[in-house]
């Protein structure tokens, strides 16, 4: 039984690798200096705590764990998609 391989597995791996390629493309674009450079003295609004993607690390953790253990999808937030506590 354990040797049965799910149908269509290669397709989903290809889609996943396409996502990785898209991310790497963005990294190359950003690292090449193709994007704008805003001087530090014009970034005061960006330094406001409201502008952080995650304002509080502990709140971000409890949200990440809640969704990881209740939905099939996870990841993209810098943490493993599964493993550890939560039985997934």
């Amino acid at each position: 039984m354990s040797r049965i391989r799910p149908y269509g597995r290669g397709l989903w791996r290809a889609v996943g690798l396409a996502l990785l390629a898209a991310a790497l493309g963005a990294v190359v674009l950003g690292g090449s200096g193709a994007c704008v450079v805003v001087p530090q003295n014009r970034r005061k609004h960006l330094a406001d705590p409201m502008m952080r993607f995650e304002e509080d690390a502990l709140d971000a953790h409890r949200r990440q764990k809640f969704y990881t253990t209740r939905e099939a999808a996870a990841g993209g937030d810098g943490m493993p998609a599964g493993g550890g506590c939560g039985c997934q």
Binding site: M1, S2, I4, R5, P6, G8, W12, R13, V15, L17, L19, L20, A22, A23, L24, A26, V27, G30, G31, G33, C35, V36, V37, V38, Q40, R42, R43, H45, L46, D48, P49, M50, M51, R52, F53, E55, D56, A57, L58, D59, H61, R62, F66, Y67, R70, E71, A72, A73, A74, G75, G76, D77, G78, M79, P80, A81, G82, G83, G84, C87
Partner: protein, 379 residues
């Protein structure tokens, strides 16, 4: 005299570097979950069983600066879960308002704790290297996680690139669906994350992230059951490997009336054929001084994994699951909260309070109410 001098030199050599506590934070969250799922046998025969449970989740975190180049973060989250494994003890009995009994005594009230340490070494002005290790303990489950990451700032800190890898190893007891303990089992989770954060204008910042995860070993909790076409229940059977990919984009925009708008989108695929799209929008508004009001909405759609079933063929030998978390559904979360940062002059430079509430509901009969509060001291 010489001995005293040597002792003084040795004491100087082994003296720890000076340290300073930067912040102390605590948070408490309460979850109240209701609903039914086909993986639970806690209900009448031939129907989905109860998924009712509550979780109390305290967390504590201390961040300290050690010497000139090291920042140490110690974080201890805990979970106290009722009915962590609702199963056969309620099979073919009516659903009540009580949390269902558990498959093992350990799960009637499961206490889980983690010790997580993150050490960040500031290599130079633009580069940080971080090391993480974590231990998780609960009955009957142990876990060890470790990882390394690099963060590099470029273009006058307009561009920040972060890459990290994690490895998680789990060991746990394997059960039959009737609660009999079979043996020990294990699971491995390997993870790669890449994140690029880019300043787009004086009021806009964006980020794009990729997360790839490979899991292998026993990938279920081993006690979830599957409803069979003849009305009885059988064991869940899952593949022993899973490749998972997620690509996320986030944007934060400053609003001229002292507010911020944050939007995010994630696409996810895995080789169990789950495909998911998740979008979220958050609006933050400063009311006065350090008081901020927050409102958020999240929508998530996913397809079922290819072997999800609500009535499995009793004679089939392939993979099967009735886990409602792996089904096709739309989930929505609406929430809001208040945050208050009180700046002070003195030893404590900032006092932080926040209160939040979220309501999570989805189309396959699961509802969770979440209340959370946090307190922090920044030195």
């Amino acid at each position: 005299m010489t001995v005293a001098l040597l002792a003084a030199l040795v004491a100087q050599a082994v003296a720890p570097p000076p340290y300073a506590i930067e912040s102390v934070r605590v948070r408490f969250t309460h979850y109240d979950q209701r609903g039914r799922g086909y993986q639970s046998a806690a209900g009448p025969a031939g129907t989905a069983g109860s998924e009712q449970l509550t979780v109390e989740q305290p967390q504590a975190e201390v961040v300290a600066r050690v010497g000139e180049r090291i920042t140490e973060r110690v974080w201890i989250p805990m979970d106290v879960v009722t009915a962590a494994s609702p199963d056969h003890s309620r099979y073919n009995r009516p659903i009540t308002d009580d949390p269902p009994d558990a498959v093992s005594t350990a799960s009637r009230r499961n206490v889980a704790g983690t010790f997580d340490a993150l050490t960040t070494y500031h290599l130079d002005r633009d580069t940080d290297v971080a090391f993480r290790t974590a231990f998780h303990m609960e009955e009957p489950f142990e876990s060890w996680a470790f990882g390394i990451g690099v963060t590099r700032s470029m273009a006058e800190e307009n561009t920040v690139f972060d890459a990290n890898v994690y490895q998680v190893l789990d060991w746990f007891d394997r059960f039959k669906i009737d609660g009999m303990r079979e043996a020990r089992s294990n699971r491995s989770t390997s993870n790669l994350n890449l994140t690029l954060t880019q300043v787009l204008s004086p009021t806009t910042v964006g980020a794009i992230s990729y997360g790839g995860t490979l899991q292998s070993g026993t990938l279920g909790n081993t006690w979830s059951s599957v409803l069979l076409a003849d009305g009885s229940r059988g064991a869940e059977r899952l593949p022993r490997e899973r490749w998972r990919h997620a690509l996320a984009a986030r944007l934060a925009q400053w609003l001229p009336w002292q507010g911020a708008l944050k939007v995010s989108y994630r696409i996810y695929v895995d080789d169990w054929s789950a495909l998911a799209n998740t979008g979220e929008v958050t609006v933050v508004q400063r009311l006065f001084a350090g008081l901020r009001l927050r409102a958020s909405y999240r929508a998530h759609h996913q397809t079922a994994v290819r072997f999800f079933t609500k009535a499995a063929d009793p004679d089939a030998t392939g993979y099967r699951t009735g886990d409602s978390d792996l089904a096709r559904f739309v989930a929505q979360t609406v929430g809001g909260g208040l945050t208050w940062d009180l700046s002070r002059a003195g030893v404590v430079t900032d006092l932080h309070f926040d209160l939040g509430y979220e309501h999570y509901f989805r189309t396959n009969d699961l509802t969770v109410d979440i209340a959370t509060c946090g307190f922090g001291l920044l030195f």
